[in-house]
Each structure stands twice: as structure tokens, then as C-alpha cells.
């Protein structure tokens, strides 16, 4: 056993100075896995370097290099070109609309999400399991299909004679559709764990229903509801597929940031497209980092 523990540090330390990752990982840290001596054999050693190297290559080809290229391209014309692209009237309008709609959608779906989670956890009726599955449908359904479903019901040939095509309300409906699961699934498990006895205790001590709701239930749901709203917001900011069919992509009216980036790309204005992309990515990153921080700070279990 003891040789087994000592083995990997020695072998990995000496064998590949060029690749410090796995070597350093083992030294002086918790010995997670105790490899058999056989593992130290040369063939397996190459496999152990080769594996991580392949994974990092894959990640580089798909994510790291493209993101680096995006940043480089956005600033390829210098700061002034970047600023010109970001502050053009179309860009400002598209970014404003994206932020406003995403915020509204996050708020509306957080309230709806609380209500839906409440019904799923506290209510009981036939077909409840089906409702629970319906909540996940936007996760499973391709975004274009989501857009098409809304167009079928609320488009030019709507059986209700409600035509949302080419309106901001239509874009909002698409965003509500795709972000709903985030808002429900973040609150639901917390509500399920919530002890009904605490509410009963509050009620038996003379609290009214309103007081129980406002002082006991909502405060314990608030962090997870906010996390859900943040996820919904981040998703809505970058959403594209569900919007294209219903928005009509009208500049200054229904053109969201991702559609505007797509247009810039189509017109071969790559640096401009990259510049607006950078702003969009930064907004989503800030929100997601904030959620991550809040999760650790308030110890919210990750569910979505």
C-alpha cells in the first residue's frame, strides 16, 4: 500500500516535466486514488498524460481558441472601432431591448415559477405528473420548434386572432417559453424540503396566512428564486432560435442582440459582430458569476 501511494508522485514528477498538471495534482495532496503498481508502467503512463492532453485539446478547439479569436477580432480595429460598433444606434437599441425583455421575462417567470412550484409540491390532483413533465418540455424541445409552436398559435393565422408576429410581446412569449424550466426547477426542490411544521408553528402562534407567506415561506424561497431568475436572464440574453421566427427581426423594434449579431455576420462585418458579442457575453458572464458566488454564499444546492 505504502509503495502504491508513493508511486505516482515519483513517477509523474520525473516523467513529464513539460506537463505539470497531473504531477502536481498528486504531490502533497489528498491521495484520492491509490493506483496499483501496474499503473506505473510506461504504457499506462503515456495513457495518463495522453488522456488529459486530448481533453484539453478538444476543449481548446471548441471553446478556448474560438473565444480568444472572438476577443482578438473585436479589438482588431482598436478600441475606437470596438466602441463605434457597440455604440451604433442599432447596437444600443438591440442591447437595450435584449436587457429589458430579459429582465421582464425573468421577473414574470420567477413569479410564475413560484406558483407552479407551489402547485407541484403542495397541491395534488390527477395528471400532476404530466404537468411536471410539461415543465421540462422547453429543455427537450429545439428552440426553433419552440418558436414555431408560438407562431402556430399566436402568428398571422392564429385561431384566436392574436397576432404576435413582429411584436415585442411575441419575443417576450418566446423567452418566457424557453426560460420557464429554470424558474420552476430552482425553487421546487427548496419548497419540497421546506418543513410544513414551521408554517404550522407560525400559524399556531397566531400568524395570519399572509404573515406566514411573507415572513416564513417567501424568505426561505428567495435565494433559489433569485438564482432561477438569474439563470433565466442569462439564457434570455443570448436566446436566438426561438425568437427568429416570431420576431420578424425588425430593427429598433423587435431586433434583439443575438439577431443583430447574426445580421452583422451576414453582412460580413465580423469585427462589429464580435464587438457586440463581447458585450453580450460579458453581461451573461457577470450574471452567472454572481449566481455562482451567491450559491456558495447562501449554500443553495445546485439543481438546474
Amino acid at each position: 500500500m505504502t509503495t502504491g501511494v508513493a508511486d505516482p508522485g515519483q513517477v509523474s514528477g520525473g516523467a513529464r516535466p513539460g506537463d505539470p498538471r497531473p504531477g502536481r495534482a498528486r504531490r502533497g495532496l489528498i491521495p484520492h486514488v491509490t493506483p496499483s503498481p501496474a499503473l506505473a508502467r510506461a504504457g499506462k503512463l503515456t495513457a495518463r498524460i495522453g488522456g488529459p492532453a486530448l481533453l484539453v485539446t478538444y476543449l481548446s478547439l471548441l471553446v478556448i481558441l474560438p473565444v480568444a479569436a472572438l476577443v482578438t477580432n473585436a479589438f482588431s480595429g482598436g478600441w475606437s472601432t470596438f466602441w463605434a460598433a457597440v455604440s451604433s444606434p442599432e447596437s444600443v437599441s438591440a442591447l437595450q431591448l435584449t436587457l429589458a425583455l430579459s429582465a421582464i421575462v425573468a421577473v414574470v417567470n420567477s413569479i410564475a415559477g413560484l406558483a407552479i412550484a407551489w402547485v407541484l409540491v403542495r397541491d395534488d390532483f390527477r395528471g400532476k405528473a404530466l404537468i411536471s413533465a410539461v415543465i421540462d418540455l422547453p429543455f427537450a424541445l429545439p428552440t426553433v420548434v419552440a418558436g414555431l409552436t408560438l407562431l402556430a398559435l399566436y402568428g398571422p393565422s392564429s385561431p384566436f386572432h392574436v397576432n404576435l408576429a413582429g411584436t415585442r410581446l411575441g419575443v417576450a412569449a418566446a423567452l418566457l417559453f424557453v426560460t420557464l424550466p429554470f424558474c420552476v426547477r430552482s425553487v421546487q426542490p427548496v419548497l419540497a424540503e421546506l418543513d410544513a411544521e414551521i408554517e404550522e408553528a407560525a400559524a399556531s402562534l397566531g400568524a395570519t396566512h399572509r404573515q406566514v407567506l411573507l415572513r416564513v415561506v417567501l424568505p426561505s424561497l428567495l435565494p433559489s428564486a433569485l438564482a432561477g431568475a438569474g439563470l433565466a436572464f442569462a439564457r434570455a440574453v443570448g436566446e436566438f432560435g426561438s425568437i427568429v421566427l416570431i420576431s420578424g427581426n425588425l430593427p429598433f423594434k423587435t431586433q434583439v442582440a443575438s439577431s443583430w449579431i447574426y445580421d452583422l455576420f451576414q453582412n460580413d462585418e465580423l469585427p462589429q459582430a464580435s464587438a457586440v458579442s463581447i458585450v453580450l457575453v460579458l453581461i451573461a458572464l457577470i450574471v452567472l458569476v454572481a449566481i455562482g458566488w451567491a450559491r456558495r454564499r447562501f449554500d443553495i444546492t445546485e439543481q438546474v
Binding site: M1, P52, Y58, V119, F125, V145, F240, S258, I261, L270
Partner: protein, 277 residues
């Protein structure tokens, strides 16, 4: 449940409001697509789905999934194993990088891929010299679909690996099992449910991806059009019948996904329950 009596007053109105919201936002629209698809009879629907461009879109969607999903599965399990079993400087960076696609609009991911592999991109010259076309062809579509769905397997498998710890694996190793045997006999059975969930999410995303693929593929009908692109193209070309029946095909795929998710979710909960007990 012994909820206070007064709360019952709100139960039915709330239930009604929730059902109405879900009906108007999700159920009725999805139902409408099915209605529209078969509105003009089964024959018209069949003609639309069996048209060459439509069939090609279905085939391409499947092909992309067949390549991208296994790649992302291997990557996801590999990264999860590294992050769960080793501690090294920069682990947080790897963890964060894997999540990047969740924070980036799919359109932006497509654009970023163009900037590396496109004609004027970083590798554009090199690729052209070697006669490799990535952008506007299948490799580019696969890369776009793989990039957007990169985080799902890691996000599902990593927590399970962290939870189960390494006692069983260590025991197997001391009994003389090699790494492959340990992975196959101990690790894999433990992460099976989380892996199934992650792979299913990946498949759904890969088959349904629109924004990134739209940019990278150039959406050439009958050549680089996956089903989601074909649907959008059909609407633009005033051919809603093809769009609706294509959407029904993807809806049915989503239904399978949903079933797997619901079942493995329940199993996952049971498993967690057992682990805690």
C-alpha cells in the same frame, strides 16, 4: 398534508392559474403544431416529410448527433474524472471553461468558430492548403453542435463522482484490478444514471441546435441544413407544411428525451435517497 384549512381557499384558483399559464404558453402551442402538420391530411404530411431536402435534413441531424454526442460523452466523463479525482492548480479554470458555452449565446459560439476555422479565420489558410473544409460543411456543424452542448455531461456526472468518493475504487485496486476494470466495474455503474441524464440532454441540444449551426453551416438546402434550419427555411419559403411536419418529427424526438429525463430523474432521486439513508 395537514395544511391550515384557510389555505384551501387559494388552492383551486392557484391550480387553475398555473394550468392556464402552462396551457397558453406550452401545451396549446405544441398541440397547434401537431394540428397544423396533419391539417391537410396524412398524405400531404407524408409528401412533405419524404421530400429530398426534408429527408436529408433528418439524416444530417442524426449524423451530427451520432458524431457529436459520443465525443462529448467521452470528453464529459474524462473531465469529470479529472476534476473529481485530482486536485491541481487551475482546476477551477478548467471547471469554468467547461461552463463557458452556457454563458455564451449560440450565435456568438458560431461566430467564434468562424473566426478560427473560416476562410479568413486563424486556421483558414492552413485548412485550405490541406483541402479541409470545416465551415459550411459537416465538420463545422458537428463542432458547433458539440461546442454548445459541451457542459451537460460534466454537470451531471461530476456531482455524482464527488458524492460517491473513491473507497470502492480503492478497494478494487488493492484487490488487483487495473484502471480499465475499475472504471468498467465500479465507476461506470455508479455514474450510470447521471451519465444517462447528461447524454440525453446533450442529444437534445445537439439535434435541436439552431443559432450556432445556422452561422457555421451557411444553411445550404439539401446539403448543410439540419432539421431546425430546414424548419426555419421552410417558413421563410412559405412552405409551412414542411416546417410543421419537420417540427413534429423533432417533437417526437423531444418526447423520447423527455421520457428518459423523467425516468432517470426519478431513479436519480431514488438513488440519492438511498445514498443519504
Amino acid at each position: 398534508m395537514s395544511a391550515p384549512v384557510g389555505r384551501r381557499r387559494w388552492r383551486l384558483p392557484l391550480r387553475f392559474a398555473v394550468l392556464l399559464y402552462l396551457a397558453l404558453l406550452i401545451l396549446l402551442p405544441v398541440g397547434m403544431v401537431f394540428f397544423r402538420a396533419f391539417q391537410h391530411g396524412l398524405g400531404a404530411a407524408w409528401d412533405a416529410i419524404s421530400a429530398p431536402d426534408s429527408l436529408h435534413a433528418l439524416w444530417l441531424t442524426l449524423l451530427v448527433a451520432l458524431i457529436a454526442v459520443p465525443l462529448n460523452t467521452i470528453f464529459g466523463v474524462g473531465v469529470s474524472l479529472i476534476l473529481a479525482r485530482h486536485r491541481f492548480p487551475g482546476a477551477w479554470l478548467l471547471d469554468a471553461l467547461v461552463d463557458i458555452p452556457l454563458a455564451i449565446s449560440p450565435v456568438v459560439i458560431g461566430l467564434a468558430l468562424i473566426l478560427v476555422y473560416g476562410k479568413t479565420g486563424w486556421f483558414g489558410n492552413w485548412l485550405a492548403q490541406h483541402g479541409i473544409t470545416v465551415i459550411f460543411s459537416v465538420p463545422g456543424i458537428v463542432m458547433a453542435a458539440a461546442a454548445v452542448s459541451l457542459p451537460y455531461v460534466v454537470r451531471e456526472v461530476l456531482p455524482v463522482l464527488q458524492e460517491i468518493g473513491t473507497e470502492q475504487e480503492q478497494a478494487a485496486r488493492t484487490l488487483g484490478a487495473g484502471s480499465i476494470t475499475v472504471f468498467r466495474r465500479i465507476t461506470l455503474p455508479n455514474i450510470r444514471r447521471g451519465l444517462a441524464y447528461g447524454v440525453t440532454l446533450t442529444t437534445a441540444r445537439v439535434m435541436g441546435e439552431f443559432g450556432a449551426v445556422a452561422i457555421v453551416s451557411g444553411a445550404i438546402a439539401g446539403k448543410t441544413e439540419t432539421m431546425p434550419l430546414f424548419i426555419s427555411d421552410s417558413i421563410d419559403n412559405l412552405d409551412p407544411q414542411s416546417a410543421y411536419i419537420g417540427a413534429v418529427a423533432l417533437c417526437l424526438a423531444a418526447l423520447i428525451v423527455l421520457t428518459v429525463l423523467t425516468v432517470s430523474d426519478r431513479k436519480r432521486d431514488e438513488w440519492h435517497g438511498k445514498a443519504q439513508a
